[in-house]
């Protein structure tokens, strides 16, 4: 048991409002550490304005490199690579999985693996608490490992500062980065929208969290855009074992808060969405045995 709890906010579908919700929750109590694990489309920093204290380069991937002077163009590497990442002409670093099979089969030992820069990891301070975040190098592989690095940095911060909560902004989807963001957290908080795609993707992300034994809870964002679909989302989530946290109304003020780069609960503290957010946050904390 760690001395802190962890919540990851995910959605399956992109653009349902994860980051806006996390930014507002960040601005509400209790003391916490923040983490942005949407490493290839990170946005939380735009709302929380972190001051970077420490930056380090992360070499997560391995890429095959060939010594063209030793290579005899025999084609063994090309025959064995299952990712179409190498031919007698060239290595395609974007397709390379980093498995190293080619280095084993090369009769001239002309190939070796080199670490490739995956991204930059940042440890920062915000008004709302310390924050770990990252930026993937364009075209880099191994984003899942970068997510794990961000999470590790956030947990280190929680230990150092004795903070009781790590709040994690997750990536969309259900693949490599999403599973890395969900691993071993106390709660997967799903933000969905009342559309067929929102519901479809919500089911897949609840299924993913459930597969790893992680409790799930649901917030339906922009619920009044389609109340029938909002209800359908809640019904489907409940059936899959998720707790229903609440609904957020549709309000264009949310977009204005993003444009103003300010968490909504500070931008428009008395508005309907801010009130709903505060209720949702209390209920979320209750679920993991904490209080605002």
């Amino acid at each position: 048991m760690t001395p802190y709890k962890q919540i990851t906010v995910v959605s399956g579908k992109g653009g349902t409002g994860k980051t806006s919700v996390v930014a507002s929750f960040a601005a509400l109590g209790p003391d916490k550490v923040l983490a942005d694990t949407d490493v290839d489309a990170a946005n939380l920093h735009l709302m929380l304005h972190p001051k970077v204290n420490r930056q380090e380069q992360f070499y997560g991937a391995q890429v095959a490199v060939r010594d063209e002077n030793l290579c005899t163009r025999c084609g063994e590497c090309e025959r064995h690579c299952r990712f179409e990442a190498i031919t007698v002409e060239a290595v395609n670093p974007f397709a390379c999985e980093g498995c190293g099979f080619c280095t084993l089969v090369c009769p001239r030992k002309a190939l070796h693996m080199e670490p490739a820069l995956t991204g930059d990891l940042f440890v920062s301070q915000t008004r709302y608490g310390p924050m770990a975040h990252a930026k993937l190098v364009p075209g880099a592989e191994s984003s899942g490992r970068l997510v794990t690095m961000v999470r590790q940095a956030a947990e280190d911060l929680a230990m150092q500062d004795g903070r009781s909560l790590v709040l994690i902004d997750g990536p969309p989807g259900i693949g490599c980065t999403a599973t890395a963001a969900l691993a071993d957290v106390d709660l997967a908080l799903i933000v969905t929208e009342p559309t067929p795609s929102g519901i479809h993707d919500m089911r897949r992300v609840i299924g993913t969290a459930a597969h790893f034994g992680i409790p799930t809870a649901l917030i339906v964002n922009k619920a009044d855009l389609n109340l029938q679909q909002a209800q359908e989302a809640e019904g489907a989530a409940r059936e899959m074992g998720a707790s229903i946290i609440g609904r957020l109304p549709y309000d264009e003020t949310v977009t204005r808060a993003v444009a103003a780069a300010t968490p909504l609960v500070e931008f428009d503290p008395d508005g309907p969405v801010s009130q709903a957010l505060r209720n949702c946050w209390s209920r979320t904390l209750e679920l993991i045995g904490m209080q605002v």
Binding site: S11, G12, K13, G14, G15, T16, T19, V39, D40, A41, A42, N43, L46, Q62, H80, R82, F83, F94, A95, E97, G98, C99, G100, F101, L104, L136, P138, G139, A140, E141, S142, S143, G144, P171, P172, G173, I174, G175, C176, T177, A178, T179, E193, T195, P196, S197, H200, D201, R204, G207, T208, H211, F212, L225, N226, E252, T255, V258, A259, A261
Partner: protein, 293 residues
């Protein structure tokens, strides 16, 4: 490449750094508008294999399905001499020797095959493991439709993306709906396209993720242009960025609750609003001109 004016064969992927900006709205609508002009010559590939959605806004008659498999190791412990070479060469830590046991972790396996190759006593056979599937059919408007779907809790979805892309025909207009983000799944989808349309929204989030997507397209040497969706909701940041970076803005779709409402009822833009079809055909002409440049 444009072979003749009647049948411009191009592969165009539709991507976005940020999720939920309207990739699927645009890819389905573009395919629909083009299929009207070029019957039987348009394909739509849904390569957002983690969250495939295109069939939810453009009705599809599915006619076929095929599993996507990865070859993963099975160790014959009778033959195995516990030398540990398989574990040594496995970069994914998907096979381990712990004292006298050899354990495989199939969900971590990338299916590279190195363990079976290195085994000195042929104790490892590779067995297929289903990690997803590809469904095929015909979408409304006579579009050839292909959709990939990874199984829940799969980490390595690249093989599913590859299986979807294998359906692309060189003599067709092929529109590919890409996954969000700029990481491996997006890269695998967009690589080798003739052009990539990046759909964004005019907000600081949209702008930040657009920048990452443009850099990724450049790293992949795929030319790109921008479609601004929900035009009018935010600020001028995206416009300024595009002007500064020399990225063409190909089309603007206004912020319109009617478009969103039709979409939430499962009807994409071109399906619900016929006036948009010539506009989308014009978008494709702009793309073809950009590619020809």
């Amino acid at each position: 490449m444009q072979r003749d004016s009647d049948r411009p064969a191009l592969t165009v992927s539709v991507a976005a750094g940020k999720g939920g900006t309207g990739k699927t709205l645009l890819s389905t609508s573009l395919a629909y508008a083009l299929a009207e002009l070029h019957p039987g010559a348009v394909q739509l590939l849904d390569a957002d294999v983690e969250e495939p959605n295109a069939d939810l806004v453009l009705p599809v008659q599915f006619t076929g399905t095929e599993p996507v498999e990865l070859l993963v190791p099975r160790v014959d412990l009778e033959k195995c001499v516990r030398c540990g070479k398989c574990a040594e060469v496995c970069a994914a830590s998907a096979i381990a020797r712990i004292r006298q046991a050899v354990i495989t972790f199939h969900e971590l396996c990338t299916g590279c095959g190195a363990c079976a190759w290195i085994c000195p006593v042929d104790a490892i056979t590779e067995i297929p493991r289903v990690i997803g599937r590809v469904d095929t059919g015909t979408a409304e408007g006579g579009i050839e439709f292909v959709q990939g779907r990874s199984e829940v809790a799969q980490q390595h979805t690249g093989a599913v993306t590859g299986a979807v892309k294998a359906h692309a025909k060189p003599d067709c207009i092929t529109i590919i709906d890409a996954p969000p983000g700029t990481a491996c799944p997006m890269q695998e989808t967009v690589a080798e396209s003739d052009y990539c349309i990046l759909v964004t929204e005019p907000t600081p989030f949209g702008l930040s993720d657009l920048g990452a997507a443009v850099e990724t397209c450049r790293a992949l040497s795929v030319p790109c242009g921008v479609v601004v969706n929900r035009d009018g909701v935010g600020d001028a940041g995206v416009d300024e960025y595009c002007r500064r970076s020399g990225i063409p803005i190909l089309l603007r779709i206004p912020h319109d609750r009617e478009i969103a409402r039709a979409y939430s009822r499962g009807r994409t833009l071109a399906l619900e609003f016929p006036d948009w079809r010539p506009v989308l055909a014009g978008l494709f002409d702009s793309v073809a001109r950009e590619v020809a440049r």
